[in-house]
Chain length 142, copies 2
């Protein structure tokens, strides 16, 4: 029982630690932060989307989304415009240059992930995905 408890703890510990270490490496390899790339990818597939919708998709705080978009707009990857029918909403979309750059970032990300999972068999990968998915469900239900 005691042993059991420690092992459980190790799992969560390891996952947190793993994420903590992977994040900076990921950012160095791809040249962009995980969160920002998530936003950009969502914009890539959504064509034009409301900030609110975007926020729900990527599950980051409104405030953070606003700030990311402001910077992305300054750097020319994104344009925003108000919804003429309801001025509370603002639509966001990628510029052409933005699209190209997102595609490049995604390729980098693919490379990174492939290299991290290179020695995992298909069975192991799907087992891992399953376990993580269940874990996520448990966490969300708390």
């Amino acid at each position: 029982m005691e042993r059991n408890g420690r092992d459980q703890e190790l799992i969560i510990q390891r996952m947190f630690e793993l994420t903590k270490r992977a994040m900076p490496k990921f950012e160095r390899c791809t040249g962009i932060s995980q969160s920002r790339l998530e936003i950009l990818r969502e914009l890539f597939v959504s064509e034009e989307i409301t900030q609110r919708e975007l926020q729900k998709k990527v599950n980051i705080d409104h405030a953070a989304v606003t700030r990311h978009l402001k910077q992305l707009e300054e750097s020319g990857m994104v344009i925003r415009r108000k919804n003429p029918d309801d001025n509370r909403f603002t639509y966001v979309q990628l510029t052409d240059e933005g699209k190209q750059r997102v595609a490049a970032y995604c390729e980098e990300k693919q490379r990174f992930i492939s290299s991290v999972l290179n020695d995992f068999s298909e069975e192991e990968k799907s087992a891992l995905l399953d376990l993580l998915t269940r874990l996520q469900k448990n966490i969300e239900e708390m």
Copy 2:
């Protein structure tokens, strides 16, 4: 091949997302941040330890460790003193009150973790731990 790439990405995506969602819940449940508790737990088992050692154990940046300790000292959980033989080093240890509070925090953490892993069998838990450990090794070797 294409499908393969997407699945791989899902694994990493899920893990990042999972961690991102779990962190705040963990902190609300236990009343302390994951990182700070890691520091405290290390102090708990190490009795008296150098900041440098501590930093290596918990794998957080020096700067962050310094700031955590400063706050912990102010709140009376920790005391620091310079090594008289080498003034560059400072030893850190928990106060008695600190020890009690760490123990309480750890119990909370156990409760949290048990509830997150409650429907996992022993086999599943050890499989998950294995997979995560391998993943971690790959990430560290990059």
